[in-house]
């Protein structure tokens, strides 16, 4: 990392330190006050200000004569560029016409950054036009020239130098103030640019690490999907062969063998279910979910789901009701919706103690929507967990000694599938009194039929950093 060179390292020409228009006004009024001309040059000899007072006729007359013109140019050259010591002191420059100038370098931070020329003025001691002027041409009209000279201010040399010093003091303040303003403004800009550069660099780093994380996340999902698939294949065989043995295809079995095989099958089914959930969620996260839409009878859907969990519920001693209501037929992916309801109902069974009630029902909502509710009288969910129960792998009781099993995938899958339909999930619960999970679906999802890829992000839910 290296910074661009700061302007602090550069030196500025006089013209950049001053507001030239305003400065010209100041010079104008100053020159008029003292009735003496004023010129300001920068270091390279560029004329920044030129105010002429009183000398136009006099100099104009001299200019008409060839020799006068020549010497005038020489004088102008001297006041403009004759070397003067780099010190804040005035230097007198004498014109062949008898007039004087005082010249002083503009010193700033030890450097001469320009010069001020004050004049011409007529020195107090000048009584008659000098020979150097009157001899420039044979037809030189001394009386006329002397008359013109009357219009030029007569002032003692010392006074002129004092006036110039006063002007130099003013100019010094103006230059300092101008420099200060420029530095303040430019440094501000440089500081902002530098902050921006720094932020942009940090942003880039963050983006890179975000991209890396995303790639890792994708790899993880891929791995899960592949592994789940690879696990499922042998497991299907385990279950299948157990079933074949149970059916007696391998010969007669003792009661004990049948019991053991039953347990192998049951646990195998549990494992298969879990693996299927993992496969689902990894598909969702990899964005590979496809909906297969068809006309779905809501009543039938609810009854199917209830039938699936009924044996489990009875075994646990729960009362189960199913009220399909008058819900219309839905355009939806039947298998995925069934899985949603089964997941919700299984959770309800899992978290409701013996003697409790489990109710599955549907409601018709405004705006062509339908709500499918799964309510229980179970242990409920406290407020702090309520907002996160749909997150992947989230468990209300995350401890290793937790009472209830599960991978934390069921609700995340429900949420993803429902959102894939353009619907939403909701939950209302009170700890100790039970929970109601609702799936709210549009009757006709606004989707491209059958092949809509699902945005994987909803499955993840609002992740906390």
């Amino acid at each position: 990392m290296s910074l661009a060179p700061s302007f602090l390292q550069q030196s500025l020409p006089l013209g950049d330190l001053l507001d030239l228009r305003a400065f010209a006004d100041v010079c104008q009024s100053f020159a008029e006050l003292y009735r003496v001309g004023l010129k300001v040059f920068d270091e390279s000899g560029n004329k920044l200000v030129d105010v002429k007072v009183g000398n136009a006729d006099f100099c104009g007359y001299i200019w008409q004569k060839a020799a006068g013109r020549e010497q005038c140019v020489a004088t102008v050259g001297r006041v403009k560029s004759e070397a003067v010591p780099e010190e804040p002191r005035p230097v007198a420059v004498h014109c062949f016409s008898g007039c004087h100038y005082v010249v002083q370098p503009v010193m700033y931070e030890g450097d001469a950054i320009g010069r001020v020329v004050f004049g011409p003025f007529v020195p107090d001691e000048l009584t008659a036009l000098p020979a150097s002027l009157t001899s420039i041409a044979p037809d030189f009209d001394v009386a006329l020239a002397a008359g013109y000279m009357q219009k030029i201010r007569r002032v003692p040399q010392a006074t002129a130098e004092k006036i110039l010093k006063h002007f130099m003091d003013l100019l010094d303040v103006m230059v300092f103030t101008g420099h200060k303003n420029i530095i303040a403004a430019k440094l501000h800009i440089e500081a902002v640019q530098e902050s921006f550069r720094e932020l942009a660099e940090k942003n880039k780093q963050l983006e890179e690490s975000y991209a890396r994380l995303k790639e890792l996340d994708r790899l993880k999902s891929n791995f899960l999907a592949t592994m789940s698939h690879e696990l499922r294949t042998p497991l299907t065989s385990v279950i299948g062969y157990s079933e074949m043995m149970l059916e007696g295809l391998g010969g007669p079995l003792t009661a004990e063998q049948r019991e053991y095989l039953g347990i192998i099958m049951e646990k195998g089914e549990n494992l298969l279910q879990l693996i299927t959930s993992i496969l689902d969620i990894s598909k969702i996260e990899a964005g590979r979910v496809r909906l297969v839409l068809s006309e779905v009878d809501v009543g039938q859907l609810l009854r199917d789901a209830v039938a699936t969990i009924l044996p489990l519920a009875r075994k646990k001693g729960l009362k189960v009701t199913c009220e399909p209501g008058g819900a219309p037929r839905l355009q939806a992916d039947r298998e995925k919706l069934r899985q949603c309801l089964v997941n919700l109902a299984s959770n309800a069974v899992k978290f409701t103690p013996a003697g409790g009630t489990l109710a599955v029902s549907s409601r018709t909502l405004p705006d062509e929507r339908v709500a499918l509710d799964v309510a229980d009288t179970g242990i409920g969910i406290s407020d702090e967990h309520l907002s996160r129960v749909f997150d992947v792998f989230y468990q209300v009781d995350g401890s290793t000694t937790r009472e209830y099993g599960g991978a934390g995938l069921g609700l995340a899958i429900v949420k993803s599938f429902v959102e894939a339909h353009g619907g939403e999930v909701a939950v209302a619960s009170r700890a100790g009194q039970g929970s109601t999970f609702s799936v709210i679906l549009p009757v006709r999802p606004r989707l491209e039929p059958a092949v809509t890829p699902v945005d994987p992000t909803p499955a993840v839910g609002p992740r906390t950093p």
């Binding site: 060179p5 700061s6 030890g110």
Partner: protein, 231 residues
């Protein structure tokens, strides 16, 4: 980095006063402004606002011409101490030839002093400056306060950092000139090593220092008549 202009026979040197907020950087420059003859220095430019101390920074030029006609221009800067002005600090530090690190010597300020020391090293690195190559003088300021660290602590510090340590009470002007002297002396030696100031520019250390310090009010300082450094 020092700027050389062979044609104009000019050397521009940059000196930065670095340190935490309220450690006394601006006070140092103000004291120098008072003590240095206007003939060799410009105005002290302070860019600040009513609400914030040293919003940007301070700057003061010091300049002289050597016997051989070389113009030497030093610019003294302070960096803004407030944490939020990090980018300004980095910009001001750019191309610096010597650093005075102004530290509040009170025990309670030790942690923030260390943080700014590290911040300075980091910003030097960002500017491509080698902390080993740039002369640094540490000023332990506010020695008059009851909480200030004593001499035994200083001995401690001197073992840890190689930089010279100069005690000061900048608000009373004590130690300010000594710090400046030590800094410029180190700065000269460093520039002489890299640029051969004595050989190529006919500028020896004694002339370099005396051209400035002959114009500095040294009453009450521990500087021996401008012959050598304070220790």
């Amino acid at each position: 980095m020092v700027q050389l202009n062979n044609e104009a026979r000019e050397i521009a040197v940059k000196v930065v006063y670095y340190g935490p907020a309220l450690s006394g950087k601006t006070t140092n420059l103000q004291a120098l402004y008072q003590k240095i003859d206007p003939a060799v220095r410009g105005r002290l430019m302070t860019l600040d606002t009513k609400d914030d101390r040293t919003l940007f920074f301070d700057m003061m030029p010091v300049f002289f011409r050597t016997a051989s006609g070389v113009k030497v221009k030093l610019k003294l800067y302070t960096v803004p101490g407030q944490v939020i002005h990090e980018s300004t600090r980095r910009i001001v530090l750019q191309g610096t030839d010597a650093i005075a690190f102004v530290a509040d010597s009170r025990r309670s300020e030790a942690a923030s002093t260390l943080a700014y020391w590290n911040n300075m090293l980091k910003n030097m690195e960002a500017n491509g400056l080698d902390p080993q190559a740039v002369p640094i003088v540490i000023q332990l300021n506010k020695k008059d306060l009851p909480e200030a660290r004593g001499e035994e602590d200083l001995a401690d510090l001197r073992r840890v950092v190689q930089s010279p340590v100069v005690p000061a009470v900048a608000i009373r002007g004590e130690g300010v000139v000594e710090t400046f002297w030590t800094l410029l002396s180190l700065c000269y030696r460093n520039l002489d090593r890299t640029l051969r100031l004595a050989d190529h520019w006919q500028l020896g250390e004694q002339e370099f220092l005396s051209r400035i310090f002959d114009h500095v009010d040294r009453r009450g300082t521990r500087l021996p008549g401008g012959e050598a450094g304070p220790r």
